[in-house]
Symmetry: C3
């Protein structure tokens, strides 16, 4: 059973030949066979296309009723009789292409909802959709083919590139964004960062935060995530960088391209990430550190120091991964021994 | 002194007999005595009803000026002279019943605010209240006696059961919800999960997220919390499950009934929780793990592996509680010794 | 190069004499020299004023092209030839004063946007600005010179003191707030806390949350942060206390004045913080503990017990800082040794 048509209208049925072409795989035989949609291995029927990436769902593959499955070469032997094996190096990517064929993202419905408030000098690109109660500020420039969702807001002077999306309740201000940028529901970009000075008498005096946020092409900001503008100079997220939900990005953070920041991560001010850095869920990065390209930071890590390129760190405080795991194992042994070295309870 | 009438209008005064009946306790004597409201032990006056659960506030009980107090049998001796002891096994539950008597949740004011935008084919149940700037999408079905707060949104095709509430700024989409569901302010349900594939050249390609969110009866989603829809197949929260604030629920998570997820917890995709699992504040659960019914996960835990039923785990990485606490104690001892085993500074 | 005038209009150029006066520094010579704005050391040109606080940016100071720089006395020797050294004990504070001179916070534009919904009995102070789609509830009292941003909401009965700001999408309810209070974008104040009782059959029964939130003068609540109202009695944030983004404050928390709560901190119900407590990013505080004035809680700490005044704690569970750091160092040593005490791999 495929996607609920109430939420995901389908362009199907689609012939196997077109499916194979979209996925970049070759087929022999029945290119005219029709498929209705995509589905997970466990739910799929003979009119659905599924996929297997890795080994976790191997048992599900062996029992799937899917009509066709994207698999890597090594899993072909596990494809059930009667199910078409579509062989590819990258099954999930192939699936993504085909899912988009059946369920393309809704195109903008060009026009400005009568309840939207658009400043007279704002510039709205051709084919852009502006939803109910959206607010577009003075001098804002919104590119072609964008979607501004219900109750979302674009602040004065902002620039948003073509094909970008603000989902409902999202807000951007003090921001220059490229093309294909997505702010998910409730995302907040361009807010005033946590910048103040404390006097000798304990009074906190705000330091005006007069920088901006620069979002590269294809940047995505997750649901209810926050990206503070620069204190002086900008906060910059490189092209293709993606933030998951409930992430905090402090003022003047700079990332390279294609970084992946998972849910509930906090990155303090002025941190610099190189290209393709991955920061796993709930990790925290202290201010001003530099993380080299392709470094990977473990879930819940607390990173206090620079991280070299292509290095994995875990733990709080974060150490290189192998060392931390050895320390935890050692601690576990110690917990099982008494102070005099004899064994205690079995762990 | 009871609740501020500016915010919490009272149905009082109410007679002790009615109070006792609502609470399921027995009284002797003055059932006609009138009470004005409820209050904490430290603030209560002779016209207020208070409660003591556990021992933490025992000193406050001994000095309370409350007119009546719900207590367990063992605390009756600590109830001051002149204060009526209302004996019950569950004092806080009794208090909750009586607080609701004095301050019932505001009933919906039936009707659609003139500024709300409701799609022509949306179905709005009898007695439902729709507030200012609320947005109800095409084909949405909202049950009877619901409240949709100001600036909240219900996406196209959604179903919301009777007696449900969306507080201000909340949003739901791609969602089927049962009866008595509550989305608190800024809660975001049905968002696109963090699903993409990275090509060999580092480009992130979104995998269409074509599942839904299914919320059982009585589910509550806390303020600014996020529940992502399924990638394929659904994200499912079982009846009575409650999420606190700033929680992240990833795509395809499934919970049993009555789970309790405290503030700022993150649960990665495809995790399965059994019935009545408790996850304490700021814990993180790695993807695809299974947590058995009635397991309890400690605050700030980092759970990487399956958790058996009725098991307590703490720490990051999480181990069974007793083992972790022993490890920390051992580590503390070691910190107090020098490398040669002699004692260092007094910890 | 100074701030982007598209977002930060400038009151410049401003003469050095006025700059010095605002900053409380003395100058000799050219008080008539004009400056255009402020900028970071690395970006500043001859018409900009910059600052150096501490030593981190010392190299940038030596190479700056800024026309004038606020520095402490010890850094005067590092100020380049031709750049005016403005000597002060507190360079960043001086910079803040001057940045505000060039880029004052936008004053309210008095008036109520035609799309705003204001209850007939709400009281709006003189000179207050109410933005598009803002919702002001019955009997709310908003002071003079406030700004209520687009799509923000003030609930029935609330009181907001003079010169306060709700940025876009923020919400307050069940709240009494002083003067100069700021709720940043998407901040949520006065929500129902996570209060319920679980019956023997596993049903969660909500305990009515009939307290309020009291915000002292100058309190700031960060983007998408949450402050729950009291269960009975109030949640109180003392004057000048500042919350960063994505912070969770549970019901009945009480803070003294000037506390600093950094991003993604979670403070459970009924915690009490003294004056000037600092809680670093992602820390968690267990319910009902007391933290003495001027204590400092480390990033990612897990605080289970009371903290004495002026004490630093780190770690999870949190111990006094020196002890924790020694424990981690010891653990690191152990990780580098084998079980028999001989050295393993070099850490």
């Amino acid at each position: 059973m495929g996607a609920d048509p109430r939420f995901f209208p389908t362009r199907g049925p689609i012939a196997l030949a077109a499916i194979a072409q979209a996925a970049g795989v070759s087929i022999d035989g029945d290119g005219d066979r029709l498929f209705d949609g995509v589905a997970p291995l466990t739910d799929a029927g003979p009119q659905d296309v599924a996929f297997l990436e890795g080994r976790r769902m191997l048992a599900a593959l062996r029992e799937t009723r899917a009509g066709a499955v994207f698999v890597a070469a090594g899993a072909v032997k596990d494809v059930p009789e009667g199910c078409i094996a579509l062989v590819t190096e990258a099954p999930q990517l192939a699936y993504a292409r085909v899912a988009s064929l059946f369920h393309p993202l809704p195109a903008p419905v060009p026009g400005i909802h009568p309840t939207a408030t658009v400043a007279p000098d704002a510039v709205i690109g051709e084919g852009t959709e502006i939803g109910p109660y959206a607010v577009i500020g003075a001098g804002a420039q919104i590119g072609a083919g964008c979607i501004i969702g219900a109750l979302a807001s674009v602040g004065a002077g902002c620039v948003l590139g073509a094909g970008s999306v603000l989902r409902s309740h999202a807000s951007m201000e003090h921001c220059i964004a490229g093309a294909g940028v997505v702010l998910h529901q409730g995302a907040r970009v361009g807010n005033e960062g946590f910048g103040f000075v404390t006097t000798k008498t304990g009074q906190h005096v705000t330091v005006p935060q007069i920088g901006r946020v620069i979002l590269g092409d294809g940047v995505e900001i997750g649901t209810n995530s926050c990206v503070d503008r620069g204190a002086g100079g900008d906060t910059v997220l490189g092209p293709g960088t993606r933030l998951d939900n409930l992430v905090q990005i402090g003022h003047n953070v700079k990332t390279g391209r294609g970084c992946v920041i998972v849910a509930q991560v906090g990155i303090a001010g002025s941190v610099e990430l190189g290209d393709y850095v991955v920061v796993a869920a709930q990790a925290g990065l202290a201010g001003h550190i530099k993380v080299g390209p392709q470094a990977r930071i473990g879930a819940q890590a607390g990173v206090m120091n620079d991280v070299p390129p292509a290095t994995d760190v875990v733990g709080s405080p974060a150490w290189p991964a192998r060392e931390t795991l050895r320390a935890f194992a050692r601690l576990r042994q110690l917990a099982a021994t008494k102070r005099d070295g004899t064994s205690g309870e079995t762990p």
